[in-house]
Amino acid sequence: MKPFQFISATNPGDAVARLTKNPEAAFLGGGTNLLDLMKEHVSLPNEIIDIGNLSLKEIKATATGFHLGALAKNTETANHPLIRKHLPLLSKAILAGASAQIRNMATNGGNLLQRTRCSYFYDISMPCNKRVPGSGCAALEGFNRMHAIFGWSEQCVAVYPSDMAIALSALNATVKVKTSVAERLIPFKDFHLLPGNHPEKDNSLAHGELITGIEIPNNSLAAHSAYVKVRDRNSYAFALVSVAAGLSLNGNLIQSAHLAMGGVAHKPWRALQAEDFLKGKPATIANFTKAAELEMASAKALPNNRFKIEMGRKTLINALQLAFKG
């Protein structure tokens, strides 16, 4: 492990100022991913700025929806009465991730920033464009069973590992960010990035910016939502495929469908084609199936993950059915 300075930020402004000053500094939230990355010599910050004492822990209803403090813990968020009642999809997605111990430590902001679990990314003896730009992608022709089927590039085929973010994507959340000069709001669809030619960039945060909270607009999905996660074991495993589904219904008629997929892309994959198809149609198995097929038609498998296309199709249909049943 590389030696580093450790300091505690006193307020968000102080945190941002300190990080801005030092290009090699990093924020420490729950540390559930950063510490692993440091032990593996993947992240080498020379200064750790502990933001654990900042008062960004509130979870509350707002005039337009809900606010999640960036430093509220995942466990607290998932079990919060407001979230359970109004955003059960988010609650279920959080509880499908990691283990109880990790959720107790992990923060909401940190969850959004966790890095891919591609094993080549963690193995510093391997080429990886995300870790060392220009070094190549070992996963492209390697062991890529866990990897992307949507939106990947020749530079990177890694997937984004969060469950919570898949629900947030379906819920049209916004990420609230403090910069050294102002605050800005980043719509969820623009927060995480596809790898393109710059897989080293996971998201659109600039160095020096701090996530202060997540805003979720009011919605009418609570009665009809589901999170289905398919994984290699029943707990404590990253998704092979996951689907967050929410339906806004008028009787049997779908007013709008909210669908996001995990385990399939470098970012939460919003299933827009399926959503478009379902809009205004009756909630039937035939329509769910057609929607899922439309969405999966654009998937492009890697040598080891062809199964994800059929698994994605089935999981989309399953999540839609479960959401409809409520």
């Binding site: 593996e40 080549y120 193995d123 070992a138 062991f143 398919v230 290699d232 074991r233 495993a237």
Partner: protein
Amino acid sequence: MENSTKSIGKGIDRIDGILKITGKATYATDYPAKNMAYAVLFKSTIAAGQITKIDSTEAEKYPGVIKVITHENAPRLNTKGGLRGGALLQGPEIIFHGQHIGIVVAETFEQATAAAHLIKVEYNQKAEKTNFEKLAETPTMPKGKELADQVRGAGKSAMKTAEVTVEELYETPIEHHHPMEPHATMAMWEGDKLTLYNGSQIINGAQTAAAATLNMKPEQVRIISPFIGGGFGSKGGQWANLVLTAVAAKMVNRPVKLALTRQQMFNSVGLRQRNMQKLSIGATKEGKLVALAHEIISHTAINDEYIEPCGDCTKIMYDVPNSLITYRVVPMNIILPTYTRGPGKSTGSFALESAMDELAYKLKMDPIELRIKNEPPKDPSNGKPWSSRTTVKCLQEGAKAFGWDKRKAEPGTNKIGDDLIGYGVACGTYPARQRDSSAIIKLTLKNKVVHAKVEIAASDLGTGTNTILAQTAADGLGLPVNQITVKLGDSDLPPAAGSVGSVGASSFANAVNDACIKITDELLAKSGKQFFVRPTAAQLMISESFTDFQTRSDSKAPAEAEKYSAHSFNANFAEVRVNSITGMVKVTRFLAVTGAGKILNPKTARSQIIGGNVWGIGMALTEESVIDPRYGNFATRSFADYHVPTNLDIGNLDAMFINEEDLIPNKMGVKGIGEVGIVGVAAAVANAVFNATGKRVRSLPITPDKLL
């Protein structure tokens, strides 16, 4: 005569349980020492070739660094000293990815780790042999004599005479032991004497291998290993890290600790090799076996051969006049495979017992009935009589307890909501043996209370050896367990077998029992009196006011045992629930019924059996280490990728023991349960998955993608 005050057979709590849960049990790196230095290994990033240059200039300048050790400055060691896997820093040759190529010793672990990253290594890379599928097309004969082709009767050609046949290929991946305590060593030198604190399943084995490798005499090396945080075979033979810690301590002239990281565990301390097994069974329409062939291809390392004996169960499980077992091997640039719980039997039984299930399905016969129909009256491999054989009892008692009659014979017909329910059964076996072991018993009388100390260089893997030896001594001496102290895990104690191959309990307990008999005989002689009823050693100490007495006994297996075939047997019952949409499997119920002779402590025995079951379930459903053949590295190199089962994967686990007395293999009738607990488990789960879904998965693990 049974006596209610007897301790053996009672499920008493572990005598060291409190020490463990309060953190007072000392594992290899828990020993403090003045002036300790910390060593970190660094490893090759190629799989085959030569190191052309190691530049450690930057590392040596790093704060706190005391020494960088590579093949260029390491002392010459005896590479044939009995350590496994090579990697002793004896030259520039690289034979697998992640081979140790050096050690950094520093004032702190963190400094050593950071400095290790500053070392620059240049290689002359050779084409690596890392693609098993490809290499397996042209395998060679193994060197080991016991792995020569075994033909009985007309061999495989008898398949032609069968009315019903199954011929399938079964595959099992590389698996890792991953004990909770990663391998770790603390080395201290005093003059030319070396003490190694190191989790060792075979105390005397570690001692002789370390001494021979270091060109020392065994008596110059002391191994201390009172507690082991699991081993599963990986701490049976010892690996380079043991001796390299001693080398580092010598070179810096300080005590040194060296602990492997979890990632380093993947290529430092062996693994269960990948196996391709072709299993052919031929039977009559009535289900009588006429031919059985088991053809196995495995890999080994470039520098040494270890092949787990996948054909061992096949050799003895069923009454079949014609059979063939063959082993072929592929040397690869990979760390040496090694003993891994139920070596060969766990993986081999997956093939055999899956194929038996396939045959039963083809015959439209209950798989239990098929097995009972082919029960061998004597050991088919050598014609010896069984000392006892409990397969049928295990199957029958298990079927009753498990509710086997509720199984639907037709796959895919038992459905609750989206879930498919299935039942599976599979048998297993493991040899029962006793190995040479010695024990000392020391009795003292103080304030009219007798206290006994049992000394034996046995090891306790975490399975309860301390406890069963206290129970054995308690009964042998006529004392309560709390007046017994067991001292083990130290090579200064009387030599003993290891906790390997299911010989631990039988070898250690018989040694202690023999010592109890001997000490009682000697006390009787010393008393010079005659008694109508033989008194216990404790009674004699008190009645004769002896204050101190001790004896040593050297025990061997009874000569008679050789004339018999002695084994533990089991039957495993699995109930699975498979989500028909996602393909995710949950083992909702698992029952292992085991016939293993005398069960010394039903509580620790049950824990050991269900522990084996859990690994077997992991083998069936989740565990797989994947090599990227382009580099020879593990693409699964953390617990995020290497999945051991979690609580949510498994529902109720239960273990039952057949009440049997088999005094042929050893005087106490103890057969051993460590290995057999995993044998047959994966097949039972796979057979249950077939019963649930109608899908036969012949390549482990059964991950959701295979059931789509």
